[in-house]
């Protein structure tokens, strides 16, 4: 037995494990429907590769990993994909996410699969088998295992986490009791993959049966395994935290912001190791797991072998959970789990426990009191932080200070909140602070990105302008050069500009000579009648516009009403005057615009009649009659046109007369 260390702090909550640890693992019958979220792991969500209506077999790949940190998802049973849609996720936010829904057919028909012989596998083949099986950490966080199993550094020690320190949960305990052989086989595989490091299995001393079972399994293969050691550690929460277990077993602390691989360590959950054994030796992907259903409201508390994607409501039914008695449904343990608001969510790869707590089973917090700075939280913190300071900084929204106090090293174990005499929900404060820090960091990054894009755009606009200017200049120079070249090629040709100038000059001289001669009756002076008409129209329009402005101003109580009113009055006078002048002029000449209009109208109408008849001629049967009609219409039109012309001539003559006189 190698030496054990201890970590700072820790708490001793009531274990409550016996409710579920005494009965054997029960295989839950096949549910009617399975719901498989695309994101059951840390990293990029997987992408569905099956279509709605497709029949899938048990173990068939239905969603493929996207990128390095991601995991495959397989069909847990045979059936038909009935939908790919958004469903509520087993997540504290209770938000929806993309899920594949499979209606099972009850045949449990496996896809073709075979186990591999590990002795004949290279490391990359072994890793490939693990990656293809979609195995993620089954302890809770759900980090893709294949990523963890290809560390960049040399690994000296493999640590198997079998501590299961959280109260109520017994899934790993039962697994060790019943599947010790497979676990040992899985450990062998991981050791082979990591270059045969020594292996330490950390188990809390409250699981004697599991320890015995594992020891027996090791004993059977003693000759082969001299470097797998079971380390029984004292029961203390949270010894199952990765960093805490490493400290207990090796005395080393994982540095701030670092990972265990930097110390030459890899930590794997015991359930994950078993899943690896199944994947490699049997060729079965990760499609089911052991989940503890417990709590005072569960009448058949115990451990269940559940297919991934089984609705929690189905599982609760099978475990005979009294929903009327349940006051809170928690996924995970009482220390680190979260309340489920809806039982219509699926079991996912990281669902190790469903806790149906009866009233008062979990200490409810009525209202939390003020922090009295007792310091108990500091004594309990396994990460050696100052929970109290973090709490004050979070309350004051001073997240940079919280960051400086290593907020990111908090493992959210809940030990501080458990000991707090004021019952302050400290962990939630830290979760909130971590979320805010993440948002603020993302915003800063976004701002930085936007700034660079803005600056690039500005620069581009300036460059474009300069380039345009340069092009224009280049064109101008090219044109001058071309001109010069042309002239050089043909020196005798006269300069076109000089020639044009000469032409213009000549013309000017000619006109100045002939000013006396009336070239053409250019009507440079305006027709007085027309001018009067225009003046009247302009004043009319002005008056109309100003009146409108006045009405608007009156409606909106504008202060300019008075000045507008004055200008309207003035314009009315002006318009009347212009109209009067026009009228006087017309009277003087005996012009009648009405009569002219009438004549014009008649001319146009007769013209239209002629056109119409001409058109109908083409289709008419009695062409002769139509032609006769056309002749009459034409006559009518010509007389109307004649009348109009006469009238216009008369008025023109009258105007001429007045002008001359």
């Amino acid at each position: 037995m190698s030496k054990l260390w201890t970590f700072h702090g820790g708490v001793y909550p009531p274990e409550n494990k016996h409710q579920s640890s005494d009965s054997v693992i029960v295989h839950m019958p096949l549910p009617k429907q399975l719901v498989l979220p695309m994101s059951q792991h840390i990293g990029t969500p997987a992408k569905a590769i099956v279509a709605v209506g497709e029949r899938v077999l048990k173990g068939q790949l239905i969603a493929a990993a996207q990128g390095f940190i991601s995991a495959n998802i397989h069909a847990p049973s045979s059936g038909t994909v009935s939908a790919i849609e958004e469903r509520t996720l087993p997540h504290p936010s209770a938000l929806v996410g993309q899920c594949i829904i499979i209606d099972t057919d009850g045949q449990e028909q496996w896809i073709e699969h075979t186990g591999l012989d590990p002795a004949q596998l290279t490391n990359s083949e072994l890793l490939d088998a693990i990656q293809k099986a979609g195995i993620t950490g089954l302890g809770g966080a759900g980090f893709p295992s294949s990523v963890k199993l290809q560390p960049k550094a040399d690994i000296s020690t493999l640590i198997i986490n079998a501590a299961e320190c959280e109260p109520y949960i017994t899934a790993d305990d039962r697994l060790m009791r019943e599947y010790a052989q497979q676990i040992v086989a899985g450990i062998e595989l991981v050791q082979q993959l990591l270059g045969e490091p020594k292996c330490l299995i950390g188990i809390e001393d409250n699981k004697p049966a599991a320890i015995a079972s594992l020891s027996q399994a090791l004993e059977q293969r003693k000759l082969k395994h001299t470097h797998i050691e079971i380390c029984v550690i004292p029961t203390k929460y949270p010894s199952g935290g990765e960093k805490q277990l490493i400290e207990i077993l090796t005395g080393q602390q994982v540095p701030h912001g670092g990972i265990p691989a930097e110390l030459g360590l890899v930590c794997q959950n015991i359930g994950t190791v078993k899943a690896i054994a199944d994947a490699v030796l049997l060729g079965q992907p990760l499609i089911s797991r052991i989940t503890t259903v417990t709590g005072k409201a569960a009448t058949q508390a115990g451990n269940y072998q559940v297919l991934i994607g089984t609705q929690i409501s189905d599982l609760l039914d099978f475990a005979k959970v009294d929903l009327a008695k349940t006051s809170r449904l928690v996924m995970g343990g009482p220390m680190m789990g979260f309340t489920l608001l809806d039982s219509q969510v699926p079991v996912v790869k990281s669902t190790n426990c469903i806790l149906a707590a009866a009233e008062l089973e979990l200490a409810p917090v009525a209202d939390h009191h003020a922090c009295i700075r007792c310091g108990l939280c500091e004594l309990a913190c396994p990460a050696e932080l100052l929970p109290q300071q973090l709490f004050w900084f979070t309350k004051a929204e001073e997240f940079d200070k919280a960051q400086n106090h290593n907020l990111s090293d908090c493992i959210e174990c809940g030990a501080c909140a458990w000991v707090c005499p004021s019952q302050i929900p400290l962990v939630q404060y830290y979760r909130y602070a971590k979320g805010r820090v993440r948002v603020l960091q993302a915003e800063t990054q976004l701002a930085e990105h936007a700034r660079s894009r803005f600056e690039t755009r500005e620069q581009r606009l300036i460059d474009e302008k300069l380039a345009k200017e340069k092009k224009r200049k280049a064109r101008a120079t090219a044109a001058t050069a071309a001109q010069a070249a042309k002239r050089a090629a043909n020196p005798d040709a006269e300069d076109p500009i000089a020639a044009a100038l000469a032409r213009v000059n000549k013309q000017k001289q000619a006109t100045s000579l002939s000013t006396t001669a009336p070239v053409a009756p250019v009507t440079t002076e305006e027709d007085p009648y027309k001018a009067l008409k225009t003046a009247a129209a302009i004043t009319r329009t002005k008056l109309k516009k100003t009146s409108k402005a006045l009405a608007d101003a009156q409606a909106s109580q504008h202060e300019q009403v008075d000045s507008l009113q004055a200008s309207v009055d003035a314009l009315t006078l002006k318009a009347n005057k212009a109209q009067a002048e026009l009228k006087a002029y017309e009277d003087k000449l005996g012009l009648d615009p009405e009569q002219e209009k009438q004549l014009q109208l008649v001319a146009v109408k007769t013209n239209a009649a002629v056109r119409k008849l001409e058109k109908s001629l083409a289709t008419a049967a009695d062409a002769a009659a139509v032609e006769a009609e056309i002749v009459t219409a034409k006559a009518l039109h010509s007389s109307a046109a004649q009348a109009l012309e006469n009238y216009q001539n008369q008025s023109a003559a009258k105007q001429q007369e007045t002008q001359e006189s």
Partner: protein
């Protein structure tokens, strides 16, 4: 008397030497630009929306450095005002309502079947977040949009919507507890609080 002259000469020489060194240092180690403007600019949200009355974030940063009020940036809101107040060591004041109110961050979306392809929004976008060509449908590159609103006004067919950013299970984070228990995202129901006593 001679001592006095001696002392004056020595001091004058020293003054000359140090003056020369200082003068040299002032030229040799001159700071390019105004570092405080950069610091202020770093705190501004870089939406380039112009709501402060300046044509971009940097001009406003320059104006702040020259003594303009720090409360004219609605996209930054209270957080930015607080950060600026910390940096400049002045009183944090409330957001100037004249320049707009603090609102949830939004992203522009073009209703694509209504877009006529006039490119007016492309020219208005300060961060080149709109993709399209003349008489072709335009679209917003969501990851690049800062939600500045500047594309909405020039659109002749009014087909740009400013929509709040949707919360997904990856972007979601826990809220500050009010009357909550540590592991619940819901206020605890009063029914389960009756007869409170530890086991």
């Amino acid at each position: 008397m001679q001592t006095l002259y001696f002392a004056i000469t020595i001091l004058a020489l020293l003054a000359l030497v140090f003056g020369a060194i200082l003068g040299f240092a002032a030229i040799r180690f001159r700071v390019e630009g105004d570092p405080i403007v950069d610091q202020i600019d770093f705190l501004l949200p870089q939406t380039q929306c112009g709501q402060c009355g300046h044509p971009g974030c940097r001009p406003y940063a320059e104006a702040i450095a020259n003594g303009e009020a720090i409360n004219r940036c609605p996209p930054g809101g209270e957080t930015t005002i607080k950060a600026l107040a910390d940096l400049l060591d002045v009183e944090a004041i409330a957001l100037d309502a004249e320049h707009g109110a603090e609102a949830v961050r939004t992203i522009a979306y073009i209703r694509e079947d209504e877009c006529i392809g006039c490119t007016k929004c492309i020219q208005a976008c300060p961060v080149d977040a709109i993709l399209g060509a003349a008489k072709q449908m335009h679209t917003v590159i969501v990851n690049e949009c800062t939600g500045c609103d500047l594309c909405v006004e020039p659109c002749p067919v009014d087909c740009i919507d400013m929509l709040p950013i949707e919360v997904t299970s990856t972007s979601w984070h826990w809220q500050q507890p009010l009357d909550l228990i540590a592991t619940s995202s819901q206020p605890h129901s009063p029914a389960s609080l009756e007869g409170l006593s530890h086991e």
